[in-house]
Assembly symmetry: C2
């Protein structure tokens, strides 16, 4: 699998979020080498606190495949998922999570919470981190820096 | 606030889930003493791994109030929320979580994970547990017992 290729696709999604003034996080879900769902954060635009890229992509992939279990899939996220998204990844039985930058504020893969990488879970997710981490992290930190500048 | 009254309403929702052969968990969200959203698990029926009662009710309440932040609300859940739902409760800024029975398998309020009751979170949720816990817990355990009997 070409993790860099798919992370670039997730980054394209993240940039779409930024264009809408949403927190720039993007996700693609891949099965058998093909993207079956893609999404970016849409929280403010749709007034949906659950509108994180991971949850939106998981719901799309489940609708597309006709199953609430996404066996054998890889989820690419530009940023370490939060507890909500980590829980959704477990519930949907995603096989592998590949993410870019750590989220030191709400990351649920060890940075803050240990939701995803907890050996007590009844489903274990393979985790690969750090793919295009600088590009993924800079997109997010640049977004917030610009926000602060505008609000200063 | 009459926690027992609203938990009975959440139980009505849980029973609707059971009638659809979905895991019987029910939720109501209350603001200013009125129910603004109600939901029960619909995972298999809609092929949605994120179709837990809490997430569905939060999304409904946000759509209804026109805000992704549910300030000043109380969420009543028959069972201790899982990490996904715990994360959604934090993200939506719910003020108080009232739940019935502990979930010793995936509970995110201390039974397994500590997502909701983590002092590092940037939003602190007041938690009241044990309201109608036997009725809430028995509905769930009875459902799984019946499932096992049918599959035996």
């Amino acid at each position: 699998m070409d993790h860099v290729y798919f992370m670039k696709e997730a980054l394209k999604e993240a940039k779409k979020a930024a264009e809408k003034d949403e927190v720039p996080v993007g996700v693609v879900i891949v099965k058998d080498g093909k993207i079956i769902a893609r999404a970016h954060n849409i929280i403010i635009g749709k007034k949906d606190p659950c509108g994180h890229a991971e949850v939106l992509a998981i719901r799309k992939a489940a609708a597309k495949t006709g199953s609430e279990r996404l066996y054998g899939t890889i989820l690419y996220a530009t940023i370490e998922p939060c507890p909500m998204c980590g829980g959704a990844i477990l519930l949907s039985r995603i096989k592998t999570l590949v993410y870019g930058a750590d989220d030191l504020k709400t990351g649920a893969c060890g940075s803050v919470h240990r939701v995803i990488n907890d050996k007590r879970n009844n489903h274990q997710v393979e985790v690969i981190k750090g793919v295009l981490k600088d590009e993924c992290g800079n997109l997010l930190s640049g977004f917030f820096k610009e926000k602060r500048r505008k609000n200063a």
